[in-house]
Symmetry: C2
Subunit: 497 residues, 2 copies
């Protein structure tokens, strides 16, 4: 029996008995864990364990962990999972807890399995273009280490300075570079995974290609720790691209900015070139390394926070970047497309330093919006990029309907919007309206052929919505997979479904 | 009861009874199928159905289909699967049957479900950069259709003029362009799948990003029709790149050619450039759009077949291509690296036409090797590219040990070799040696940290080897997934496992 399954006590005696029972269970659990782990890696002080209850989705419900374990080796993790299986105790894996959906939130009486101490880069191979890492390696640490070899690990969530590769794999993280380089899933070649019962399984490969059996690697990416514990990853690397140059374009409406995005990404928009072997050949469309959008609310919030002097008169600020052989030429072409779409001002950065400043403004967006009203709910709806204009219009309507401030920053090239509801969590009515507007935005995303989550994941926050997006047959098959890997439902239970 | 499960008859009476029983079962099956399908889409003539027994792995065992169905609609496919579930009859899905592992081979008494008539391109969207297609669309048809919009669908297996997208998805096909553009899996965003019991499930999305639940889309890619029938796919497209230019480099040994490949792909080999914002910055390594190798046996076979005038004195011919903004400059840099690795001759193509000729030679390799002795067994071992030299040396040793001709062509940039055993199928001893050498090459690939299949799949040919590669725990979990999707084991049974 585990704490979370103890029924609610009906009177004071029952309550005392329940606490005693829970304490006894925790005692047994801790003893068993300590039998196979160094004492320094098992934390039981309730003040300490409570500090591991949440990821960044602070408004999502979270329980009280019974114990926090900080393994250093694969064998440590295996011992934890064997113990958890034996005692039927839920295990919640955690990285840096920078997630935004509550996927790393504790459940009552669980073992929090924090993988932050398994933080070794085991190998970087510049011929095979792979890195082999433990899950606790921080994204920025890996990124810088591979840069030293002229290599590039693209996935760059906003939290890249602190988030871990294990967390990135668990949530299938995206970032700013996805429009050109794709998401975390595209860079995971193989995994070592500790299964619910403590057995070790290896998936995938370290070769550039491979199709031996079902792709279990990809099944684990984005599974939010619900199928097994990732203890080692083989990651694909790319050669480091040239430095990118950024252009900022101001628009008098979000619609005009979205029109510019469509013009930039629409491949037919470019001229047909004569084909060398005769006949016509169309030149391919633009491939920006970044295509981001900030609305007026976001721009103002960033200025208020960091005094960056962004243009507050603009309704939508578009940032486009190229890391090609001749980025200035690409920026000129894209600048012309922005003007054709009605941009009121187009400013290409002169150099990498100026470009970096613009990106800093973009990266500050969520922090800045948080400062507006104290609390935010960050949505993550992704729509086909041709529907981005409809999405932004719809968000404006929702904000007006509920009388709320909703700032939008977006990975616009991907159609991935982060409508951010700013509200006062002390005000129950505003909190209710915030939640309702948040849901209405997801419904709109689905209506437009999109998804409820482009890169943040489902966690606790969106589990009712997952069912709505994937439908009953999809949900049944997803549950069947969960059942196959975790028949006792001890791996991060209550998340996703 | 199905034909394949009828026990072997013990005497003449039993045999006659068994045939009668089988005929009765087939009669019922055909009646049920015809109750929901147009008569023209159900083929029962044994001469006709027998012609659907095999894919291109002609040496793999294949059974006799009871019936061949050629559906035109999703509803047709659902009717077939409902009928198959009801009668417990195995269903073998097929595309153009260009596969090389027997994954599309019939089993006795099965329904062959040929998806070639579901061949509509439903949508090409140049803003969203997606195509929506039915499974029977031929790869070349799609590739040319998207080219008209300035778009590019990269996956290009050698059979691209005839193979279908459904088959490409089933086998997770690769091709020549993978070293830069990746494999089929990277281009499948979402699927409509008919499950074993006839229900329709939608996976994935049509957005650029999305992480709602487990990645069932990727689970289906490469599943060889064993989890469900793909009836619609949303594919990602890229802007068409500039035309590629090809360079040919001759080497006096395979080892020297592999050294050149490592130099080309090793990112550290390039100079550090001054970073604009100060400090040093390394320029990223080369990204060829193609990096292929043909050994002396293959070159000679191609010359014998097509009189192409390739240099027969070379031990290894390397082809490298770039589709960058300045391909001539990239070819010059790569040519210099080849010379540093000991190339005896380096010839960059002057233009696209000359480049295309070199690629034609490469594409003819397997056909040409087939002509050497009448029959071939084409292996598909992929190793980390740093181990390619060891792999090629090992293959030479195996060829000498068994007294066989083994030609090697390879997607060398990926480390993906196709050692092709040329043998006389009428000679039992040579056939036995061919099979043994084939297996020894796979064992070598695993020893070198590689995989038994880079892009051809497991099918019938390599199912014993799959278990060896992924180990007992991996195999158990793969089987658990199969069980979750196909509890009656009617979807392409006997393949993969």
């Amino acid at each position: 029996m585990i704490m979370s399954r103890i029924e609610a006590p009906r009177d004071a005696d029952d309550a005392a008995a329940a606490v005693d029972a829970a304490t006894a269970v925790t005692g047994t659990l801790v003893d068993r864990l300590l039998a196979g782990l160094p004492s320094g890696s098992v934390l039981t002080d309730p003040d300490v364990t409570a500090s591991y209850a949440n990821d960044m989705a602070s408004f999502c419900p979270a329980g009280a962990p019974a114990v926090v374990v900080l393994p250093r080796t694969v064998e440590d993790v295996q011992h934890v999972m064997r113990t958890a299986t034996e005692l039927r105790v839920p295990v919640v894996p955690q990285g840096a807890r920078t997630g935004l959906s509550g996927a790393a939130n504790a459940t009552d009486g669980c073992v929090v399995l924090s993988l932050t101490r398994m933080d070794r880069i085991l190998e970087i191979n510049p011929v095979d273009r792979v890195a082999v890492v433990e899950p606790g390696v921080v994204n920025a640490t890996l990124s810088r280490a591979v840069n030293e070899h002229g290599l590039y690990y693209p996935p760059d969530p906003s939290s890249w300075e602190t988030c871990t590769i294990g967390g990135n794999i668990g949530t299938a993280s995206g970032g700013l570079c996805c429009v050109k380089y794709g998401v975390t899933a595209e860079y995971v070649l193989g995994l070592d995974v500790v299964l619910a019962d403590g057995r070790l399984m290896t998936t995938g490969r370290r070769t550039a290609k491979g199709v031996a059996g079902y792709d279990l690697t990809r099944l684990f990416v984005g599974s939010e720790g619900s199928l097994g514990i990732v203890v080692r990853a083989v990651l694909a690397l790319r050669p480091e691209p040239p430095e990118q140059l950024v252009l900022a374009a101001e628009f008098a409406s979000a619609t005009a900015a979205c029109d510019a995005i469509c013009r930039i990404m629409k491949t037919e928009g470019r001229e047909a070139l004569p084909r060398k072997g005769g006949g016509g050949r169309r030149e391919g469309g633009h491939v920006p390394s970044l295509l981001e959008l900030m609305d007026r609310t976001t721009v103002k919030a960033v200025n208020d926070l960091a005094h960056m002097g962004l243009p507050e008169s603009t309704e939508a600020l578009l940032l486009a970047a190229f890391d090609t052989a001749d980025p200035a030429a690409d920026l000129a072409a894209v600048g012309a497309l922005c003007e054709a779409a009605g941009a009121t001002r187009v400013v290409p950065a002169d150099d990498a330093a100026e470009s970096e400043l613009l990106l800093q403004a973009r990266r500050l967006s969520l922090t800045a919006l948080e400062a507006v009203k104290g609390t935010t709910m960050i949505d993550d709806v992704c729509v086909p990029r041709s529907r981005l204009g409809d999405m932004l219009e719809g968000i404006e309507r929702v904000a007006a309907k509920y009388g709320l401030t909703i700032g939008v920053c977006a990975h616009a090239g991907d159609g991935n919007t982060h409508p951010t509801v700013c509200f006062d969590a002390q005000d129950p009515d505003e909190s209710r309206r915030a939640r309702e507007s948040f849901d209405e935005i997801m419904a709109l995303g689905l209506e437009l052929g999109g998804t409820i989550t482009g890169e943040h994941g489902v966690g606790v926050l969106k589990k009712e919505w997952l069912a709505r997006e994937i439908g009953p047959v999809g949900l049944e098959m997803q549950r069947a997979i969960k059942q196959a890997f975790d028949p006792l439902d001890i791996l991060n239970p209550g998340k996703l479904f």
